[in-house]
């Protein structure tokens, strides 16, 4: 009897373990703040290599990473990101589907709001500060929605 119950329990646990651990609505997002400069020798941090194709189309030639973090965002819940210059950017996952995510990015100091839907594997690069002395901060978002 004990063995049978143990078998059943083990089976149940195995099924539970195989179920996705992430609750529906949770979206892991890789959030970076990067600094782009038009002055100085062209350079790109090695960690920004995946963004090369997007960044190379801009006038900025020197790219440095200012912050890099992974957050698990919940749909509808506002996440705040502080910029090195003290400004604030808020991000909300408005919608998520297996293959795409809709973000709303608000740059508080400029009172601008962008709603962007990206497919899986795509990144958002969003300017979040005005250009000062040839440099500006950018926010990059990379989501891996639940399959």
């Amino acid at each position: 009897m004990t063995r049978l119950l143990a078998c059943g329990l083990a089976f149940g646990l195995a099924v539970l373990a195989s179920a996705p651990a992430r609750a529906r609505g949770d979206v892991p997002v890789h959030i970076r703040i990067i600094k782009g400069s038009k002055k100085g020798p062209a350079k790109m941090d090695a960690s920004l290599e995946p963004l090369k194709r997007q960044l190379s189309s801009l006038a900025y030639v020197r790219w440095e990473s200012a912050s890099d973090e992974e957050r698990t965002m919940v749909r509808g819940k506002l996440e705040s990101v502080k910029l090195p210059d003290g400004d604030e950017v808020t991000i909300v996952v408005q919608d998520e589907a297996p293959e795409k995510v809709t973000f709303e990015v608000t740059v508080v100091s400029r009172k601008t709001q962008s709603r962007l839907t990206v497919e899986k594997g795509q990144r958002i690069v969003h300017q979040v500060s005005g250009e000062k002395n040839g440099s500006a901060f950018f926010l990059t978002l990379y989501a891996t929605p639940e399959k």
Binding site: G8, F11, V15, L51, R115
Partner: protein
Amino acid sequence: MRACLRFAPMIGSREGELPAEEARSLAAHLSECPSCRALSAEAAVLEGLVSEALLAKAAARDFSPFVDLVLSRVERTPARRSLWPRATALPRSTPARGRGLARPFLALLARNWKLATAFAVALVAAASVFMYVHRDNGEPEEIASLEIDLEGGDTVLQTSDGPVVLFAPDESGS
């Protein structure tokens, strides 16, 4: 006397128990020493008595019904049920492989109600978890086109890797 002390532990030893050299020395000593010879004779008699007693004890026990008793007990014991049906019980003419695998499993569940109950409970629990995790929010699935809605007159560069949003030059503060 010193020789007697040396050979005393060897007296009563069995044949082949002593090395050849020691056995020869003991035999030479016994031929010369009457007291050790007497001791050896006494040991031989004692050993013979013990052996006879053991043999008599063993012979008193009758082992003839042993085999019959064991066989009768084996026949009385019910055959232990195997968890899995024997392979020979499977019909060899089962057309589909999946059906051939399902039948012994169902037969197993039918024969072991406890296992069937445990399996059913686990199945219901798994289904509940699956439904909870994949519950539908009732919202229609959107079409897979990119949607960009900007407030503030910014510009967007569309690349295959994703959108790049830039502030309009006149508002960038440069």
